[in-house]
Symmetry: C2
Subunit: 247 residues, 2 copies
């Protein structure tokens, strides 16, 4: 059984303020927790069903994790989601310093506000072997439970550095790619070996200040009639076109 104090603690971590104060976050669901336990995150404790605890006994013991046995009903009550039939883990936030880059492609997120979009972008970036994401200060928080959930464990392998984007990008000599409705077709662009790929806000696109730092305007050619693409979809199509021949 999860104590009332632990339930209250879990619920408090749905809010960024408390995640910052406590320097902790939650991971929900078997897939994300297994990836968490295999990562370099420090895990504090795990509440799981008898089934989850049995299936992951060796992993939990190797990491010397405090475990609490609980039921699906209790888990769902403590969860950020409607149902949780496996486990919740509490882990420590990881300090992130400015990334050291080495001839690679880096995603730059200019105010991605929707947690589902951010999580999906992290998952897709991990699929394509991206290691670093630079995010504006207004981008959704990586440790929001909805972001963590949508990454399906990929948060463990992605370094996300939150910073003021124009200050970060102004000195670079790498190309800065930005997608808009006008620009060179991604099918005809030679992306070379390194660069920043800027993905704009869901409704506003790339902000004016960041726009002025774009060196290469690109576009995803439209065949039909939709006015635009979802931000996470645009990011995925661009990554596929940048990296499709690099494997």
């Amino acid at each position: 059984m999860i104590s009332k104090a632990k339930v209250k603690f879990i619920k408090s971590l749905q809010l960024k303020k408390y995640r910052k104060d406590e320097q902790c976050f939650t991971v929900e669901g078997a897939k994300g927790i297994v990836e968490l336990l295999n990562s370099d995150f420090e895990v504090i404790w795990v509440a799981g069903t008898a089934n989850f605890l049995r299936e992951n006994e060796a992993l939990l013991r190797r990491n010397r994790i405090e475990v609490v046995e609980t039921t699906e009903r209790e888990l769902s009550g403590a969860s950020s989601f409607q149902t949780n039939n496996s486990a919740i883990a509490i882990a420590k936030l990881k300090p992130i310093s400015p990334p050291v880059l080495n001839k690679e492609f880096v995603l730059v997120l200019d105010d991605i506000r929707d947690p589902g979009n951010l999580g999906t972008i992290i998952r897709t970036a991990d699929w394509y072997g991206i290691k670093h994401i630079i995010a504006s200060l207004e981008t959704a928080d990586l440790y929001n439970p909805k972001v963590i959930s949508a990454t399906m464990g990929s948060f463990c392998r992605m370094n996300i550095y939150y910073t003021q984007l124009t200050n970060y990008l102004v000195g670079t000599d790498w190309p800065v790619y930005g997608a808009s409705l006008v620009g060179r077709s991604i099918y005809d662009t030679n992306f070379g070996g390194e660069g920043f790929i800027v993905i704009g806000n869901e409704s506003q696109g790339i902000s004016g200040a960041v726009h002025s730092l774009i060196t290469n305007h690109i576009t995803i050619p439209r065949i039909g009639q939709a006015e635009s693409l979802n931000a996470s979809i645009a990011a995925a199509i661009i990554l596929d076109n940048v990296l499709r021949l690099k494997k």
Copy 2:
């Protein structure tokens, strides 16, 4: 002001049962409603802010729509979403018959359960000029407000036919493409001029019965370490690869 009866009616349409009984659905937000008014859907009435009604006066008058002036606060109270600062429209469901296909690519959705994923897939398909989607009976309902919202108006241009997939696909002589972790790289596949592209369920992938009807197994090559891609992301990357040279 929206009458209590109208608010109750709007809210009832959040549930599929009432949408079916009343043969009506809601569209929320300016972008979707403007597309709705320009489509062949029959619109019953629109509740909007003074601002929305003024900006779209000609369009509303041309369509002879009953309008109700309301406030953002009232709209948000009646809405399926946290906020609605423009309008809600009520429209009639459209009967959909089996599509008549003509040398084209058709998406086949094998139990896409998440409304956000379905809406995003419709929006992306519309971007790539897809006209028809065949959806399993377990796929989320097109007229769910979350689906309609995520399409950003593209629901007006997409024919979605819900049916039992194996019965539908069993007699076709078109190729049936299905993505999995094994298969031919989408980069090396010649997709030709027509075919069905099957997108599997978010957690289970393509079901066994449908899997047996796949004639061409394809895969999105992975460079990094994520175990899988979100269903709407996979659909987008495949569509981009199928249609990139067809414009």
